[in-house]
């Protein structure tokens, strides 16, 4: 089997990635929500990498010539989908961030109106 080495590398990579993702969740540096697509993709890649019959079947069904191409295709598709997902999340965070900054501005003014002596509204930058 001339594919063995690439299969082995793929499988090792998938297992390593899965371990890293789970460890990040354990340390609370990655939330469960964001870990899900990573876990799914590593499982898919591991199955394709470790099981030649499954890989061959899927490759044949999709009309792809080389089995290793399928593994790369799946990885690339995942990367693209993940980036789109992150862009959506970033847009959402932008909206939420804007709402928080606005609310902070309104509350700060209300506070200054109650205690005008402090002069707290003056300092520019807020990082002094």
């Amino acid at each position: 089997m001339y594919l063995t080495r690439i299969q082995l590398i793929t499988a090792l990579g998938a297992v390593g990635l899965a371990a890293a993702v789970l460890e990040l969740v354990r340390r609370r540096r990655l939330t469960e929500e964001y870990s899900l697509p990573w876990v799914i993709s590593t499982v898919v890649v591991a199955v394709l990498g470790l099981s030649p019959p499954v890989l061959a079947a899927v490759t044949g069904a999709l009309g792809i010539l080389y089995e290793s191409s399928l593994v790369f295709f799946v990885g690339l598709a995942f990367g693209t989908i993940m980036l789109l997902y992150l862009s959506i999340k970033l847009s959402q965070l932008t909206h939420e961030h804007q709402a928080v900054v606005r609310e902070l501005a309104l509350l700060r003014l209300r506070l200054d109106e109650r205690a005008p002596e402090s002069g707290a509204g003056l300092s520019p930058g807020g990082r002094a």
Binding site: V101, R102, A105, L106, L109, P124
Partner: protein, 234 residues
């Protein structure tokens, strides 16, 4: 706090140089109107001039963009019960003498948004060629998608009635509140009207429309205009 009345909202980012004059001028020309400055993450002493004059300041701790600053001002206007809110630029381009003319049709219920336009009447305003082409393009886009004729889509000199202010809480884009925003308002059934005004040279600071924005602006606003048109008005 205030029942009814008119609020003049001045979004300002690093406008410490021109803001004192602008505030004094509004006070002199439109003594019956209240003032509000929205300091959009300035790094200079923009907040000092309004503070010294007893004008309330809403301060964004980071810079969000002129659309977001306007939205914050409109939220304030809604919360305090103002009937009409006018946006006026801090840099002195907008002549406060026209405030009365801008507010009148909104107060009278003749329209929901009044737009101070450079081009309705013959004015002395001369823009660079690229800017002119852009204005023509977006005026055409607005006309094509809404059937309304708005000659000056980039004018920030506008008066909003209460219902329009409420719509702005959902629809105002964070960066450029221009053509796509007007399309959204028109699609929601708000009546827009242009009022002829003269605009002046800015007193200090840099124009909001810089070179990188010159390239991004048409892309963003063409896409956003199309989306504003495609979106079902809720």
């Amino acid at each position: 706090m205030s029942g009814g009345g008119v609020l003049v909202i001045i979004p300002a980012c690093n406008e410490a140089a021109s803001l004192p004059h602008t505030l004094d001028e509004v006070r002199a020309r439109a003594p019956g109107m209240d003032l509000l400055v929205v300091d959009d993450g300035s790094r200079d002493d923009t907040a000092r001039a309004p503070h010294d004059r007893g004008v309330p300041v809403l301060r964004h701790v980071v810079n969000l963009g002129v659309g977001a600053a306007l939205q914050t001002g409109l939220r304030f206007a809604l919360e305090r019960g103002y009937d009409v809110a006018v946006q006026l630029d801090a840099d002195g381009q907008h002549d406060p003498s026209y405030l009365e003319a801008l507010v009148r049709p909104v107060l009278a219920g003749e329209c929901d948004v009044a737009i101070g336009s450079r081009f309705v009447a013959r004015t002395s305003y001369h823009a660079p060629l690229t800017r002119r082409a852009g204005m023509l393009l977006f005026s055409g886009v607005v006309r094509l998608l809404t059937g309304q004729r708005i000659t000056d889509t980039t004018s920030g000199f506008r008066a909003y009635g209460r219902e329009a202010m409420e719509a702005c809480q959902r629809d105002l884009p964070r960066d450029f509140p221009d053509a796509p925003f007007l399309i959204t308002l028109a699609r929601r059934g708000f009546r827009l009207r242009e009022i002829p005004v003269e605009m002046r040279e800015r007193r200090a600071g840099d124009s909001f429309y810089t070179l990188s924005k010159t390239l991004y602006y048409p892309y963003k606003n063409l896409l956003a205009s199309l989306m504003a048109w495609l979106r079902r008005p809720a």
